[in-house]
């Protein structure tokens, strides 16, 4: 009888503890409750429940702690300072998979906020616990552990190095082969975060055979998985040429190009990022992409993306065109210049406009044919506006100036240079006038056009000190025309003519002048 009463008392206590923990876990799912929970000192209450006898209480307490920590950095800091982490971590190898999952969730929630918190997690021995969890069979535990590792590695290269030193990378690569989609996603994301920091880390990842696993998953229909795979591949390819070649040799092209036309924004952006990282290393890789027809895909993708989604595509075009004039002509043939002009018109953000301006500069700087393509798209006034407008950022102005300088020095298409002559500031004007001085001595048609369109007048009005390049260009241009025309168009010529008119007396009397003057001087007969 007494035993039953005692049993009942203990039973009740267990039940009430379980109920409390479950309620707290439910409440912690809602952001508006967080403040009140924190005021009620929930951390110190949950701390002893982590070592509870009843495993369900332990697991739910861990879950509640994780939810609290993931809400804000402050709560995570409180969790760390309450010294909960070492106890949590020490229990992990011993406990069952539900506890492990909750513990990984707590570690993830703490590590995701900042570098210091992640470092605290590592110092408490969290990485070993996470690696133990990664060796588990339950896919949920693996997912949770991989997620936590990804968040730890994301912040800085040192943290990523410690993750690699703990031996997590082979296990993560094994996770990718798991049949569960969630585990694959999270493992891909974690590897992507490790690779993005430095080359050595990427080598470790690649040596474990990550690339072939990624390549096998490129054509999977799952959206989130594809995003992570593409981001991981681009992070691998971006460091050196050898890594980019490894990525290419995994035969991801031409399957990857279908990602550029996907409905999802992030897949398109990550695919463009991957292509950009591959293209920027050498002309051969860029030629590979061009030969496979990638330029058209990128141009189409630019047409239907905007804002930060379009940025990697613009940079990919720029990097391709920068290598050689053959590749730049391929970009032009694929209607890249037209699309970049549209981007420049429609985008509001200065970063993307700067990137578009830079890419146009890379395309146009090779030969007069390329510069003509840029000129025909009516881009010079737009570039000038980017350079001179007060709204443009410093970066955009600088890029616009460089682009104008490099493209103008190659441009011999006269109709496009005429509007620039009227509106350009002096440092751009000298390139425009220089181009005229190169073309006009050889082309009579252009000379005629130059005079009739009023450009000669404008050139005469330019003030230039003798000895500067601008003065020499102007002299060269003036030498192409007869002196009378140059004088006629020089400023102040009409005043000069009028002055001459005032001092001029016409001689139409033919010698009867003296008589007439005498008659005028002699007193008139009538009045006298």
């Amino acid at each position: 009888m007494a035993a039953r009463l005692i049993e009942q008392a203990f039973d009740q206590y267990n039940k009430s503890r379980l109920q409390f923990v479950q309620t707290v876990a439910d409440l912690a799912s809602r952001p508006q409750n967080m403040e009140h929970l924190h005021d009620n000192n929930v951390m110190s209450l949950l701390h002893p429940l982590l070592m509870d006898v009843v495993p369900a209480v332990q697991q739910t307490a861990a879950l509640a702690l994780g939810k609290l920590a993931s809400f804000s950095q402050q709560l995570a800091q409180t969790l760390v300072t309450s010294n909960i982490l070492p106890q949590l971590i020490s229990q992990v190898p011993v406990q069952n998979r539900f506890y492990k999952k909750s513990a990984c969730f707590v570690l993830r929630a703490v590590a995701k906020h900042s570098v210091e918190l992640a470092r605290t997690v590592i110092e408490s021995g969290g990485l070993n616990a996470l690696v133990v969890c990664l060796e588990e069979f339950d896919p949920n535990v693996k997912e949770s552990a991989a997620w936590a590792i990804g968040y730890v590695a994301r912040h800085s290269p040192e943290l990523a190095q410690s993750v690699v030193d703990a031996g997590a990378v082979p296990l993560l690569v094994l996770c990718i082969k798991e049949p569960e989609i969630g585990v694959k996603r999270v493992a891909a994301s974690a590897l992507s975060d490790i690779c993005k920091h430095s080359e050595e880390l990427t080598h470790v990842v690649v040596e474990n055979g990550a690339i072939s696993n990624f390549a096998a998953l490129i054509s999977s229909p799952d959206t989130k998985l594809k995003r992570q795979i593409l981001s991981a591949l681009s992070n691998i390819a971006k460091h050196t040429l050898a890594l980019a070649e490894l990525v290419v040799e995994a035969e991801i092209f031409p399957d990857v190009f279908s990602g550029l036309q996907d409905a999802d924004d992030l897949i398109r952006r990550n695919t463009a990022g991957l292509i950009k990282e591959i293209v920027k290393h050498t002309p051969e890789l860029a030629q590979l992409i061009v030969n496979a027809g990638g330029m058209a895909s990128i141009v189409d993708y630019l047409g239907r993306s905007e804002g930060h989604v379009a940025l990697p595509g613009v940079m990919a075009l720029g990097f391709t065109a920068a290598h050689s004039q053959q590749l730049a002509m391929s970009v032009i043939v694929s209607r890249g210049v037209v699309q970049l002009a549209i981007c420049l018109n429609e985008e509001k953000d200065d970063h993307i406009r700067g990137a578009a301006v830079w890419a146009l500069g890379q395309i146009g700087r090779h030969t007069p044919e390329h510069a003509k393509a840029i000129a025909m798209a009516n881009l010079f006034p737009k570039l000038l506006e980017c350079y001179t407008s007060a709204d443009s950022s410093d970066d955009l102005q600088d890029k616009a100036r460089r682009t104008l300088k490099s493209v103008l020095q190659m441009c011999v298409y006269m109709p496009a240079l005429d509007p620039l002559l009227h509106e350009a500031p002096p440092n751009i004007l000298k390139y425009v006038v220089g181009q005229y001085s190169k073309v006009l001595p050889h082309d009579p048609q252009a000379r005629r056009q130059f005079v009739t369109s009023g450009c000669l007048r404008k050139v005469q009005e330019i003030q230039a000190e003798p000895g500067t390049e601008l003065r020499e260009y102007i002299n060269t241009i003036n030498n192409c025309f007869p002196e009378e025309i140059v004088r006629y168009y020089s400023p102040g010529y009409s005043e000069h003519l009028l002055e001459r008119l005032e001092t001029y007396e016409p001689d139409w009397t033919d010698g009867a002048r003296e008589d007439w003057q005498q008659d005028a001087a002699a007193p008139s007969g009538i009045t006298a």
Binding site: A56, V57, Q59, N96, E249, G293, G294, S330, V333
Partner: protein
Amino acid sequence: MTTYQRLVVQLDTFPELVVLRHHEADTDRAREYRAAVRLQSWVRGYRIRDRLRRLHQLAAVIQRHWRGYLGRRYYRRLLQETVLRAQADYYRRQATLIQKTWRGFRSRLFVFNFAEWKGYLNFVADQNDELRVQCALECRRLSEERKTVCSSEILQQKTLIKTHHMISTKTIPGVYNSPYHRERIGIEKHLASIRFPVRPTKKAKTKPEDKVEDDKSASGASKLQGPFLPRLELRRRLSRRPCQSLRTAEPFENTEAAVRDQRRLAKVHCVSEQPFRPPTAHLLPPLLSSVHAAVPYRAPPPFRETDSSRFVGSGDFRRVLRPVETFDGCV
């Protein structure tokens, strides 16, 4: 006598006759003189003209012959010069032909080949179009695959929801429950992870009515008894996914037993720690996959290879200098 008589008779008239005759001579002297002058001048003129004409004729003969000689000499020289010029022009034309052909060939080989350039650009355009088509197909395939996956998931969820009551509990182990496995496998696992959907259509229909009713209650027209939750909040709580996995999976009395089971299962599932490789792995050649070979660009072959009838010599064509592979840094 007669003469004397005639003369004596005339004697009276003789001085008058003499005077008359002198007068006649005088009166006509000027006239005759002028006549004589005229005749003489005419004759002189005639003679001189004749002489001059003769001189002119002779001069003309000389000049004619001289000019003929000059002309023939000139013609001969002209002829020679024309022939020489024609020959020089012919050789010049032949030399131009050789130089033209050689320069064209050399610049196309070593400097810039416009036909190849145009061919390359057309190739890029063709590849672009081809890839566009392929990508469109691929995208369509992916979206269809996503749709089928999605629809199969939806179908699975629907069937599971219809049989959600077959889940096994502690007191009543269900039909799909296997007594040999402590944890859920197969259909049991899916039954445990059912997500009950919030019914969107009903919500959409009653949303304006809800709002109207709430407004009514707020304005105090018909006050409900007791502290009830608002409708939407209540519905959200009822349709929330219950977290069952932690509570129903494990009996909370046996920690050690659960840990023991876990360890036993781990030992059972783990067969070997070596990663699997086929036994003949060491015999396989290393896989050389090159995308370079997948999409080659090859220039069209020169006529030597396609049309051998135009080939002049007997041996094969040998280049003295090596051609440059790309056409960068030129034009």
